[in-house]
Symmetry: C2
C-alpha cells in the first residue's frame, strides 16, 4: 500500500512530538507500506512569524509573506527526516518545490495547479520515506507560494491524489469527526464514516478537523481521507463517498457556529432590484452572506434578513448605509448563532427537518431564521440558546446511540 | 553606483535591529544607488536549529541540514523586504535559488559555481531593492545547499562580483579591521585599508570580521570589500588589492590564536618516510596541521613538532598511537598560543622578522616555534604570555601611531 500521512502543528509541536511522529511513520513503513509524509510547521511557529511581519506592516506584501511563512514547514520536514534516518530508515526531506508542487500565483492563498511526481516516485522506488514540507509550492515564475491556513491538509490530499495513494491519513490532536462538539455535548460520539458532502457542511460550520478546501479536493480527486489522532491508536473517521453502509444513517452530526451576525432590513422599498443591488455590493466587497430571508409585507415594502460573519459586520454596516433612502430601518444583531443538522439521509428521508423544528419547539427555543439544503437544516437562534439547541437536537436524532 | 550590502546575524538579531537595517538600506537607496542586500539569519537562530537537529542525531544528514538551516535567512530576508515596502520603497525578497545561486553538491559546505543574474537584473532595472537570503543556493539537481559558517559573506561577495557592483559592504557589530584585538591592546587602531592577503592571514589567525573563503573569493573576483558596523556611521576598513598607498605600511596587524595545541614527537626513528606517513594519516583524518618543525638529532633519530587546532587534538592523539613503535616519546601541549605579525611590507623590507624576535627577547618571552611566510611571521609561545606578546609586538611596530 502507498500511504500519505499528514501531521498537523500540534502533532509536531515539539522535539519529543516529532520523535513520536517518527515512530508512527516507521511503524507504517515496517508494515510493508510505502509512506509519504506531509508536515505542518511546529504549532505556534506560523503565528510567531506573522507577528514578526506585523511588527513592520499591518498589511505586509503577500509575496514576501510566502517566503517568510514557508520556512516553518521546512524545519519540521528536515527534522523528521533526520529522526527517521537516525532509526536507520531511508528518508528524504523535500520542500514543496522539490516535491513538484506547482501552484497559481495568488500569494498566501495559492491553488495547486499540478504536481510533478517524478522526484517523489524516484525516491519511493528506492524504498525511501519522503517527508514533504506542507502548505507550499512554487508558481510558474519560481516564486514561493503558500496555500492558506490549513494548507498542509491540501498538500497531503493533492499528493495522495497525484500518487494515487491507497489512503490519506490526516493526523491532529483530535480522534476524528464527532457527532457534535464534545465540549458542548459530552455524549457526542465519534463517527466511523462520513461523506465528503457532510464533512463539507460540518467543516464550514465550524468542526475544525479538516480544512474544507482539502475535503473538496479529496472529493474531486477521489482521495479517501482518514482523520486520526497522533496521540493514540484509535480508529479515526473515514471521509469518502457515500456508500451502502451509510444508507441507514439519517443524520451524521450537529454543528454550532457562533461567529454569525444578523442584518435585518425593514421596509425595503418595492422598487425592483433593491435587494439584488444590496447583495451585489456585498459580494463586491467580498462579504460572505450566508442565510437570506425575504418576506413580502402588506404595505408595499418588504423585509430582508441575512447573516454575515461577525468579522465582516462592520464592513456590511458601512455598505448598507449607502442605501438609506431605500430602506426604512436597519437592525444589526450579533447575539445570534447558527445550529445545523447535517446528514446525507435527508436526501431520501423526509421528516428530518420537521423533527428538528419539533424538538426546538418542545425546548421552547425560538427559531429566527431557517435555511435548508439537500443534506442540511440550519437554524438561527438566540446565541444564549446555542449549546442547548445542540444538545436537544443531538438527543432528538439519537446520535449518542 | 551599484552597492551590495551584507548584514550579519547580530545586525539583524531582533525586530528593532531589522528596522535599523531597513533605515540604513533606505539611506543608501535615497543617495541614488542601486542596492542589493544579503542577510544572515537572526543571531542565535542557526545555532537553535543545529541544536534541534542534534536532539535527533549526533551526525544528522547534511542534505537535510541544508533544508533546515536555510530557513533562517529566508525569515530575515522577507522581514527586511516587508519593512522597506512599509517605508514606500520598492523591495523584493529572494531565496538563494531565486537569486540564481548555483552551487556544487557538497551539502553544508557547498561552493558557488555560477550565478544567473537575470532575475536580479530585472528587479534592479525596475528600481527595486533586492533582499537576498544569504548562505544558500541550490545544486544542479535542485536540492537546497548551504555554504558553511559565515556563508552569507560568501553570497555577498559572489553576488557583488557577478553584478560587477561598485562596492561590497559587509556589516557586523565591529567597526572594521583593527591592528589587533582591542580587548588585548586598547591602543589598537582601526585600519583604513588592508590587502586581501593580509586579511586572509589575519582571518585565518582568528580576527573574525570576515570569513576567509569570502576574502579569497573577493580577491579572485576583484571585489572591493568595506567592513563596517551596522550600529554606527564610522568609516570602516576597505579590503582590496595592495596599492601605492600601502607601500609605506610594513606591518598591518598582530593576531593571536589561542586555539592551538602542540604535538611533539621525540626520537622518531630515521627510517625514511615516517614523518611523511604521520602527516599523510593526519591529512586523511582531515586534521589541520599548521606549523611543522623537524630537527635532526645527533643519535640518528629526529624530533618532530607540529600544531593542530585544540578541537582536533584528541583525534591526532589516537592516530599517533598507531606509530608507537617508530617514536620514542610523544608530548601534547594545549597551553600554547600562536602570535602572528602580518604585513605586505615584509615582502620588500627585510628585518621585520628579526625585530619581532628582538622585541620578544627583550620582554623575556620564549619562542617555542617559528614559521614565516612572505607576509607573516608566526610564533608559538606559552599560552600565558600570549596577550603580553601581542602588546609587545604592537608597540614594537608602532601600530598605535
Amino acid at each position: 500500500m502507498l500511504i500519505v500521512q499528514k501531521y498537523g502543528g500540534t502533532s509536531v509541536g515539539g522535539l519529543d512530538r516529532i520523535e513520536n511522529v517518527a515512530n508512527r511513520v516507521a511503524k507504517a513503513k515496517f508494515k510493508g507500506n510505502d509512506v509519504v509524509v506531509v508536515v505542518s510547521a511546529m504549532s505556534g511557529e506560523t503565528n510567531k512569524l506573522i507577528e514578526y511581519a506585523h511588527h513592520f506592516s499591518k498589511n505586509p506584501s503577500k509575496r514576501e509573506m510566502d517566503i517568510l511563512l514557508s520556512s516553518g514547514e521546512r524545519v519540521t520536514a528536515s527534522l523528521l527526516a533526520i529522526a527517521l534516518q537516525e532509526m536507520g530508515i531511508g528518508a528524504v526531506a523535500m520542500t514543496g518545490r522539490q516535491a513538484g508542487i506547482q501552484t497559481n500565483s495568488i500569494h498566501t492563498y495559492a491553488r495547486i495547479e499540478s504536481i510533478n511526481t517524478e522526484a517523489m516516485k524516484t525516491e519511493i522506488s528506492k524504498g525511501n520515506i519522503i517527508i514533504i514540507a506542507g502548505f507550499q509550492g512554487i508558481n510558474k515564475e519560481g516564486s514561493v507560494t503558500t496555500l492558506g491556513r490549513g494548507g498542509s491538509d491540501l498538500s497531503a490530499v493533492a499528493i495522495a491524489g497525484a500518487l494515487e495513494a491507497d489512503a490519506c491519513e490526516i493526523y491532529s490532536d483530535v480522534d476524528g469527526v464527532y457527532t457534535t462538539d464534545p465540549r458542548i455535548e459530552p455524549k457526542a460520539k465519534k463517527l466511523d464514516f462520513i461523506s465528503y458532502e457532510e464533512m463539507l457542511e460540518l467543516s464550514s460550520l465550524g468542526a475544525k478537523v479538516l480544512q474544507s478546501r482539502s475535503v473538496e479536493l479529496a472529493k474531486k480527486m477521489g482521495v479517501k481521507i482518514v482523520a486520526k489522532s497522533s496521540f493514540n491508536d484509535n480508529e479515526g473517521t473515514t471521509i469518502a463517498e457515500e456508500n451502502e453502509v451509510m444508507e441507514e444513517v439519517l443524520v451524521s452530526g450537529i454543528a454550532l457556529d457562533k461567529n454569525q451576525a444578523r442584518v435585518s432590513l425593514r421596509e425595503v422599498s418595492d422598487r425592483p432590484g433593491v435587494a439584488a443591488e444590496v447583495f451585489t455590493k456585498l459580494a463586491e466587497a467580498q462579504i460572505n452572506v450566508d442565510m437570506i430571508i425575504q418576506n413580502a409585507s402588506t404595505d408595499g415594502t418588504t423585509n430582508l434578513g441575512f447573516t454575515v460573519p461577525q468579522s465582516e459586520l462592520e464592513s456590511a454596516r458601512e455598505l448598507i448605509s449607502a442605501f438609506s433612502h431605500d430602506i426604512g430601518s436597519v437592525d444589526f444583531d450579533e447575539n445570534i448563532c447558527k445550529v445545523s443538522v447535517v446528514g446525507v439521509g435527508m436526501r431520501s428521508h423526509s421528516g428530518i427537518a420537521s423533527s428538528a423544528f419539533s424538538a426546538m419547539a418542545e425546548a421552547s427555543i425560538n427559531i429566527e431564521m431557517i435555511s435548508t439544503s439537500e443534506i442540511k437544516v440550519s437554524m438561527i437562534v438566540d446565541e444564549k440558546f446555542g449549546e442547548l439547541a445542540v444538545r436537544v437536537l443531538h438527543e432528538a436524532y439519537q446520535l449518542d446511540r
